[in-house]
Amino acid sequence: MTTTTEARPKLGFGAEEATFIGRSIRLSLRNPETLLMAVLLPVMIMLLFTFVFGGSIDPSGGYVDYVVPGIILLCAGFGASSTAVDVATDMETGIIDRFRTMQIRSWAVLTGHVVASLARNLLATGIVIGVAIAVGFRPTAGPIEWLGAIAVVALYILAITYLFAAIGLASGSPSAANGYGFILLFLPYLSSAFVRIETLPEWLRGVAEHQPLTPVIETIRGLLMGPAPEGVALVAVGWCLLILFLAVVWGAVMFRRKGGRR
């Protein structure tokens, strides 16, 4: 008879996280189409804006320097949105319920998805910047500014990945979760990503000035291309931390509430 009444040995600190991060990275590598789309789409949009619209937006030919920071965020947002699909898939197959019935910190399954998304998106961002430089992007940043820009991009990816993880928990199915990704494809158009805010109609200017993407883009642009407006970096970091905080709280509530929905 196999009746053991003692509890099983506890896992070492961080063992769940390590296992789940490994799992999510492996799942990402097994899904090259998603990875490819996350890189290809922003690159195509960048080429489109640089070579098709760029000439009429900025006839001097320097538009690529203006548009790249926005493209970096577009790329990050789109790449992170697949986290919602991954989490919703885990809910649907019931694997999250299985983790919950085990003696582990099952919440760590989300940490795995978030860390994998961060790794995936930083890689995609690197490729986008590489292509940008190939088509004429000439940043003036020194090493410190580069590090600062990467840190801001990473913080932004972290915040919206958590947001998408929570969306994945809240949405009923993977295909529903997929739909939300498009919202973040549109947000950059209503910011200073592609055109200067001064050129927008007045009612739209208010929206563009006060939405979180504009300070993040201005901060990255400032770091890569020259001085940013005073204090904008603080606003950008503040926005990212606020989104991160709200997403973690929302995700925790959803995770607790959605048990046993097989």
Partner: protein, 293 residues
């Protein structure tokens, strides 16, 4: 024998809809109990409460001596759960799934690989160990799911409709495995909508309908409850001529045939035991008509 699972007065509603309406149930250690009921009877909800996924509104449930509401982690250390959908990673191989789960159960890398090999061979998945689960058949996925539940050799196993949607061969294979678990002394609580499955696998059957247990007993007990055997007399074309209640003795059978007028000697006689189906339809139709069971 000690009770591995004991449930008292368990109630649960979802959005005002009562799903479990006072469940009392004991499952002895080392036995297989089948929870039989139609869709929507509350089978999965009961499993979800016992496996710490959902909290009951009232009543209590103890699994392996630990209360599911106050000591969920103790309960989790003693159970395995295989749900209706195969809770496995489609993009990983069977072996990768098992090794990952082994790590989460606290096994070392080597021990996890070893355990994966053992279970793949026990559940006859060795040939597909390194294929992605995506390419598995439904039956293979269920077997892999079951293998994951067995990694930590839990003394108590919950199987929620383990064979729903499977073809006959896969179903028979799973039955064989579940039987061998019962023989190993694992306590199994399984839900099913198939009477035959309950009949084949379970030491005891609890019939669940409308959130309450309407009958419980061994398969034989339940069949006996629905009355005596029936002699069926058919003519040569197989047309049923008459059904006569009997007590199963030769005397009873002789009387039944004597009772039947001569002239149909070309016909056939069959003796029919009441089936679980009779019991089930009897009890659940009472329920839907609102007659207290």
């Amino acid at each position: 024998m000690a009770a591995a699972i004991s449930i008292a007065g368990l109630r649960k509603s979802f959005r005002g809809q009562r799903v479990l309406d006072g469940i009392d149930l004991e499952v002895e250690a080392g036995t297989v109990l089948a929870l039989l009921g139609p869709n929507g009877a509350g089978k999965t909800t009961l499993i979800n409460i016992l496996s710490t996924l959902v909290r009951a509104d009232s009543g209590s449930a103890r699994v392996g001596g630990a209360d599911v509401a106050t000591h969920p982690n103790r309960v989790r250390s003693m159970i395995g759960l295989t749900g209706q959908s195969a809770a496995v990673d489609q993009m990983l191989t069977g072996d990768e799934n098992l090794r990952m789960m082994g790590r989460l159960f606290g096994l070392s890398r080597r021990a996890a690989a070893e355990r994966s090999r053992e279970l793949l061979s026990r559940l006859e998945l060795s040939d597909s160990a390194h294929k992605r689960v995506k390419a598995y058949s439904g039956g293979m996925r269920r077997r892999l799911d079951l293998a994951i539940s067995l990694i930590a050799t839990p003394p108590i196993l919950f199987l929620d409709e383990p064979t729903t949607g499977l073809d006959l061969r896969s179903r028979l294979e799973l039955w064989q495995i579940i039987r061998s678990l019962g023989e190993d002394g694992v306590t199994v609580l399984l839900t099913t909508q198939y009477l035959e499955e309950a009949d084949q696998l379970a030491d005891r059957i609890a019939m669940l309908s409308g959130g309450v247990i309407v009958a419980i007993g061994t398969p034989a007990d339940l069949k006996d409850q629905t009355g005596s055997e029936v002699v069926e007399l058919r003519d040569s074309s197989g047309q049923l001529l008459r059904e006569i209640q009997t007590d199963g003795t030769i005397r009873g059978l002789k009387l039944a045939i004597n009772d039947f007028e001569a002239g149909a000697l070309e016909g056939t006689v069959t003796l029919r035991r009441p089936s679980l189906e009779d019991v089930f339809l009897n009890l659940t139709s009472d329920q839907t008509m609102g007659v207290p069971a």
